[in-house]
């Protein structure tokens, strides 16, 4: 941040004007298709992991070109913020390559790791569940926070507080965000890890609520990041810029985040990976973020499957080879499956193995909902950290054969955990043990699996 930030602000007021419909239906899809065709990047459905360094470099270059040719569309002014290649390259070259999240002995420092490095990707666990019941929310959070492999928490949004319903832009939104922050701090204290990284405020979306929750001190520059994520398909607004500026002024790490939606405005995993790179570079240009979250899902809401794994691995490897900033991705299947489904456990493992062999530094929302699922993802991330890329690819192919489109099978927490002791039930533990055996047979191991 600095000169370029103020130039971006200026360009939102002086850049070329374009109607938003034209940008999203003509300009962006045409440009990305041209750039991908020029670089001859293709997706092979038989290869769920993209591990080719040459293709990774092409994806990175295509992403850089996409940002330079398309720019960032400012929704507030209907103008395009253009960049030169030199500006973006300077951003890449001058950015810090590590970030510390959390405080004191609970802090973790993410540094670039290559595919096959012994250092495992860090694992940030989900905390809470979609509910208005604050007690229930806290119980879920405790199941994950108490796990020894928890490197940080990511709150799941509350849907209300008892009878109080949240409305965006009103004090109820701020109340929810403050309640969430209070619970996260309580949970971290209860598990004896007061310096734990607490992710991003998930109950707040508007700048007013986000700034207020940081002003409270419950979330602060040590335990939380400020979301400045780009809007879909290369778009920004003044909220993004105001939040990036606020974060910079308060020493808060900006949460750079991109989630490409396959088969909506982009054709598939290749365009999605290219878009993720362009998004990341764009966010690095307007914020001083030095680590990024990148993931993808399909237009019909799936967060796992060969096309998703290909996209996530391709974008991560492209960044690992060319960007040198910590990179994290999604560590579960989203909300649509249940904790006792095989699909979910295979998908969690696939996400962790993909992270290891694609050079990622971390994963967020590992496991999806409960502590045991998070433990599973974190242990796989540690077990698979040093494996050869080819071995990891073979495992993902094995998983892909068994992977089926998931069905929604939620199970209440009291059927998964003894709520007094917060220990998993026998049935849940048996499911976990079943999968440790499956993955030991596939060649992975972790000390506690014995």
């Amino acid at each position: 941040m600095g000169k370029l930030f103020w130039e971006i602000v200026d360009r939102t007021m002086t850049g070329p004007i374009m109607k938003e419909d034209e940008f999203e239906n003509e300009f962006f899809p045409t440009k990305i298709a041209e750039i991908v065709a020029k670089h001859k990047i293709e997706y092979d459905p038989e290869e769920p992991i993209m591990s080719d360094p040459g293709i990774a470099d092409e994806i990175f270059q295509a992403g850089l070109e996409l940002l330079v040719e398309v720019g960032l569309y400012c929704k507030d002014t209907k103008r395009i913020v253009k960049f030169t290649e030199e500006e973006i390259k300077e951003v890449i070259q001058t950015r810090k390559s590590e970030v510390t999240l959390g405080k004191d002995r609970d802090a973790v420092t993410l540094r670039p790791r290559a595919p096959g490095d012994e250092q495992h990707p860090y694992t940030f666990f989900p905390a809470g569940i979609l509910t208005r019941d604050v007690s229930k929310y806290k119980q879920y959070a405790l199941t994950t926070a108490q796990e020894p492999t928890c490197d940080g928490l990511i709150p799941v949004p509350l849907t209300g507080i008892g009878d109080i319903k949240p409305a965006s832009g009103t004090p109820t939104e701020t109340l929810l965000a403050l309640t969430e922050a209070q619970i996260m701090n309580e949970v971290a204290t209860w598990v004896g890890r007061p310096g734990l990284f607490l992710g991003i405020p998930m109950c707040a979306t508007t700048p007013g609520a986000l700034m207020t929750v940081f002003a409270s001190g419950l979330y602060n520059k040590y335990n939380c990041c400020m979301p400045v994520q780009i809007l879909q398909e290369m778009r920004i607004n003044y909220d993004r810029l105001n939040l990036a500026f606020f974060a910079q002024q308060h020493g808060i790490v900006p949460w750079i985040s991109s989630c490409a939606v396959l088969y909506a405005y982009i054709t598939g995993p290749v365009q999605a990976a290219v878009e993720i790179i362009a998004h990341t570079l764009g966010m690095m240009a307007f914020s001083d973020g030095s680590f990024t979250q990148a993931m993808s899902n399909t237009v019909d809401g799936l967060y796992a499957g060969p096309d998703i794994w290909w996209c996530n691995s391709a974008a991560a490897l492209a960044a690992e080879r060319n960007l040198n900033v910590p990179w994290i991705s999604f560590g579960c299947m989203g909300h649509q499956v249940g904790p006792l489904t095989d699909e979910s456990w295979y998908a969690i493992a696939a996400a962790s193995i993909t992270a290891c062999i694609s050079g990622m530094e971390g994963m967020w929302l590992v496991g999806g909902t409960t502590g045991l699922e998070a433990r599973w993802g974190a242990e796989i991330a540690r077990a698979a950290a040093g494996i050869k890329v080819s071995d990891g690819v073979a495992m993902i192919k094995e998983i892909a054969k068994k992977y089926k489109e998931p069905k929604h099978m939620p199970i209440p927490l009291n059927e998964l955990y003894d709520l007094k002791t917060l220990r998993p039930t026998k049935e849940f533990l048996d499911h976990y043990k079943k999968f440790t055996k499956i993955f030991r047979a596939m060649g992975l191991n972790y000390p506690t699996w014995d």
Binding site: P157, A167, G268
Partner: protein, 214 residues
């Protein structure tokens, strides 16, 4: 000499100029305009829709399909008798928008599906509040309001919106349908919506059913 399958093919391939020319030629040959519409234009659009379902096409293709269809339909309308035109769903006007959120992919999909199925769609875009929906509905006079809901605070705003329509005494004027990632049939019923769609394509069936379009 062109055939109706040629029209279906070029509409499916999103070739605007060719589709326009073939439509004119087919009508000049004396073909039944409804057949040109159904077997040529609509079938071509269905082909685009099927490619989208199969993840071989993207939203901008659906939008282009709608543009191609809208280029051809005036020629069909001109050839149809007045009664037949009045029987088409085009007479039904639907307001659509996203409540609060900037995520507009689902809304755009529904908007496009409704449009290519002949409904007159008034798309008010993203980041709307209850009053935006109400004021625009009153201003343009619509039959139905479709609300896309993508995050939790927006759900409360939809409840506020249906309540607003009730309090202003205009609830009966409009059918209200909702959909989006964090919605459910149960929730839709709880806020008094007339219909809920799990998928974008459900919007068309809901509109046809609730607006009694054959």
């Amino acid at each position: 000499m062109v055939e109706i399958s040629d029209l279906r093919k070029v509409v499916g391939e999103l070739k605007q100029k060719e589709a326009e020319e073939i439509t004119k030629e087919l009508l000049a040959q004396g073909l039944d305009p409804l057949m040109v519409l159904e077997d040529g234009i609509v079938q071509g659009l269905n082909d685009v829709g099927e490619r989208f379902q199969a993840k071989k096409a993207i939203i901008p293709d659906l939008v282009k399909g709608g543009i191609v269809a809208r280029t051809c339909i005036p020629y069909v309308e001109a050839a149809l008798s007045k009664e037949e035109v009045q029987g088409a769903p085009k007479g039904k006007k639907i307001l659509i928008g996203t409540m609060l959120s900037q995520h507009n992919i689902g809304k755009n999909l529904v908007s496009t599906f409704l449009s290519i199925n002949g409904f007159d769609v008034v798309d008010i875009g993203s980041e709307n509040g209850p009053w935006d929906f109400y004021q625009k509905a009153e201003e343009v006079g619509v039959d139905m309001i479709a609300v896309s809901v993508m995050f939790i605070p927006a759900r409360e705003k939809v409840a506020e919106f249906t309540d607003l329509l009730n309090q202003l005494g205009v609830r009966e004027k409009y059918k209200v349908i909702v959909g989006g990632a964090i919605t459910s049939k149960k929730w839709a019923e709880s806020i008094g919506a007339d219909g809920w769609g799990a998928q974008a394509k459900d919007g068309v069936e809901l509109a046809k059913k609730l607006l009694e379009v054959a």
